[in-house]
């Protein structure tokens, strides 16, 4: 760890921000087409974020501010761990368990800040978000556990490199199709897209945790959202789609997956939170356990 690492990390952060925000903007256009309209400019998302940051804001005490800073800081730190295709800011730190737990710092900060606003809608939203996390994370972690056992590595880039050796058929999504499906469903939950977005449901709880945010707090929340999307989609790209030997390959894979999930999300209603938990524990968890069982006891799919 020296200054070069930090500078590199900062660059990666910038790149991730530009990439993901542009993609979000393009996706808003794509979704608009699905809904038979034109949609905003592709750089609308940038304008939105900067506008929000430039506005005045209100605060409900130090924990309201501190939570937001902690959340964005935690998520940015996580984003530094994530390899951007072949590029890595800090070598040897892309351990999947570290990323999974570091990601939680952002969540905790966000939850803390939302509850710190003293608004019950926000607290309900947070309680739903945490429940949601309990639902989607366990099938996902189960599948990841199987992968780690199969390849004796818990490093993202390491796992991606192993997949690329086998060419297209070496992709984990093809080697372990059940696990791939579970991961995609879990990703939908992680991203908070429908049908698993009950924690920000506007019609039920007035957008939940975000209820009290405005101005710079909201802008930082948008930044946080972009980064966490980047982290989560990247995880799947690395774990199941062979990562990227080049930056371009990574970006293409990433964009395809993200757009696909976005389209799916726009033709589905949302689950209630307990229905989401039941769903995750019935279907994906069972699939994940079967997949892991196949890997560990039968060695199926392990080359």
């Amino acid at each position: 760890m020296n200054l070069v690492n930090f500078a590199y990390g900062l660059l990666l952060l910038l790149a991730a921000f530009v990439f993901q925000t542009t993609l979000t903007g393009i996706n808003r256009k794509v979704v608009a087409r699905l809904q038979r309209r034109r949609g905003p400019k592709f750089y609308q998302q940038f304008i939105d974020i900067f506008k929000a940051l430039s506005k005045g804001s209100t605060t409900h005490g130090w924990v309201f501010d501190f939570g937001v800073i902690m959340a964005l800081g935690g998520i940015m730190a996580t984003a530094i761990f994530i390899p951007f295709g072949p590029l890595k800011a800090v070598p040897g730190m892309d351990n999947i368990f570290i990323i999974a737990y570091v990601l939680a710092v952002g969540m905790l900060g966000m939850a803390m800040s939302a509850s710190g606003s003293g608004n019950p809608w926000a607290s309900i939203g947070v309680s739903r978000a945490l429940t949601n996390m309990l639902a989607y994370d366990i099938p996902f972690m189960m599948v990841v556990f199987g992968l780690i056992f199969a390849f004796d590595s818990s490093s993202l880039s390491g796992l991606a490199a192993i997949q690329r050796e086998g060419g297209l058929l070496g992709w984990n999504v093809l080697r372990f199709p059940l696990g791939g499906i579970v991961a995609m469903i879990s990703l939908q939950g992680m991203l908070g897209k429908k049908p698993f977005d009950s924690f920000i449901a506007p019609a039920e709880i007035a957008s939940g945790p975000m209820v009290e945010y405005g101005g710079r707090h909201l802008g930082m929340l948008f930044l946080l959202h972009e980064y966490s999307t980047f982290i989560e989609v990247s995880l799947i790209v690395h774990l199941f789609f062979g990562g990227g030997a080049t930056v371009l390959e990574f970006m293409v894979k990433y964009a395809v997956i993200y757009t696909f999930l976005n389209l799916v999300s726009n033709v589905l209603p949302r689950f209630k939170i307990d229905q989401a938990v039941t769903f995750f524990y019935k279907v994906p968890l069972a699939m994940a356990v079967v997949q892991t069982f196949l890997i560990i006891f039968l060695g199926m799919g392990v080359a």
Binding site: K194, S198, P202, V267
Partner: protein
């Protein structure tokens, strides 16, 4: 304190219109709730007493913005009854077309809008966009998109423009073609079904206790209780249509019935265009008083029509003067919107509160007046 006091509205994304429900929530179950109406109260009943019979034509559609035409119809019907005016035959049929188009527009908005509480925004976009095509037809017929002031005492304001029948038929074909798409998007979605099936029940006793009408009533009491059938106005007795009814009313059934009713509305409009006399007068003269200052004979009459949400009625009292003496409005969602919220929203979850409002058909402006 285990309970939290939460507000659904007036300015909450889950509430349609300027209306509020105060909910005492424990965990996510609503323990107590009260409706807080009056945010849209404009004092219509008072204002109508201060306008001439004709001036009121501009005022009345504004009572319920979602489906204004039943207002015009009940107002016209009341005056016609009091003054014993015979409405020309063609006007009856035109009225039916207008009313059914309005019902279609309201139902389209509502089946699109069901996407909002369950989070399926694509259906909102589609539904509202298709409704706009109906508004275009209205604009061609009446000159206005929303408040038409077209059905007037004695008939309709003016005749249909030339060639509008074909346009209406084309539009109906289009909407009929779109309905299956909506059905696939919303009703066939397993997630939508898990949310709405066996949820937000409306038992028959509750219907009678509150006085719920419309789709809510028909889906619960297993009878075809519709003003158009029970007490036909205009020429509803001369067209064939059958309305859905059933003994078990959950949220899904009530939304489902709206689809069937839309198909029936389309069929009614087609029949009306077919059976309508091709020409003839569309407006009878109001007998007494000057052209602008009518005088309506004294008396009291209650007239009602079936709006998209149920029985919609006016009690009109005239003392023979140039202005109405008193008009009382029965909004069709008055029972479920006030007493229903107080007695039957409790026990549901906050996840469902918005869906409750939506599928029960609570429409704020007609409650507040």
């Amino acid at each position: 304190m285990k309970e939290v006091k939460l507000f659904l509205g007036p300015q909450h994304p889950g509430m349609h219109g300027n209306y509020s429900a105060h909910m005492y929530v424990e965990g996510d179950i609503i323990n107590k709730s009260y409706a807080l109406p009056g945010m849209l109260h404009r004092g219509f009943e008072k204002l109508m007493e201060r306008r001439h019979w004709m001036g009121n034509l501009a005022l009345i559609p504004r009572i319920c913005v979602i489906e204004p035409d039943p207002n015009e119809m009940v107002y016209a019907m009341s005056i016609e009854k009091l003054a014993a005016i015979e409405v020309p035959e063609r006007a009856h049929w035109i009225r039916m077309i207008i009313l059914e188009l309005a019902r279609l527009a309201a139902n389209l908005m509502s089946i699109g809008g069901i996407g909002a509480p369950v989070g399926l925004y694509t259906s909102v976009y589609w539904g509202v966009a298709d409704r706009d095509l109906i508004l275009d037809i209205f604009e061609k017929i009446t000159g206005a998109r929303v408040y038409h002031m077209y059905i007037v005492p004695g008939g309709v304001r003016k005749d249909l423009p030339e060639g509008i029948e074909e346009e209406i038929l084309d539009l109906l074909d289009y909407i009929e073609g779109r309905l299956p798409e909506f059905y696939d998007l919303v009703m066939r979605s397993p997630i939508f079904q898990t949310r709405t099936r066996d949820n937000i029940l409306l038992p028959e006793e509750v219907v009678w206790e509150l006085g719920v009408t419309g789709i809510g009533m028909r889906s619960a009491v297993n009878r075809e209780y519709d003003i158009r059938k029970v007490k036909p106005y205009a020429r509803y007795d001369q067209v064939e249509f059958s309305l859905p009814y059933g003994p078990y009313s959950d949220a899904f059934t009530r939304v489902d019935f709206k689809y069937i009713e839309m198909a029936q509305s389309i069929s009614i409009i087609r029949q009306s265009i077919e059976k309508m006399p091709k020409d003839g007068p569309v407006r009878a003269k109001i007998a007494t008083g000057s052209a602008l200052r009518w005088q309506v004979p004294p008396g009291m009459v209650y007239s009602c029509v079936e709006s998209a949400r149920g029985e919609y009625g006016y009690l009109v009292v005239s003392d023979g003067g140039e202005m109405p003496y008193r008009i009382a409005v029965r909004g069709s969602s008055y029972p479920q919107g006030l007493m229903g919220v107080e007695k039957y929203l409790p026990g549901h979850r906050i996840d469902d509160a918005s869906l409750w409002m939506d599928t029960m058909g609570v429409c704020a402006p007609e409650i507040d007046r």
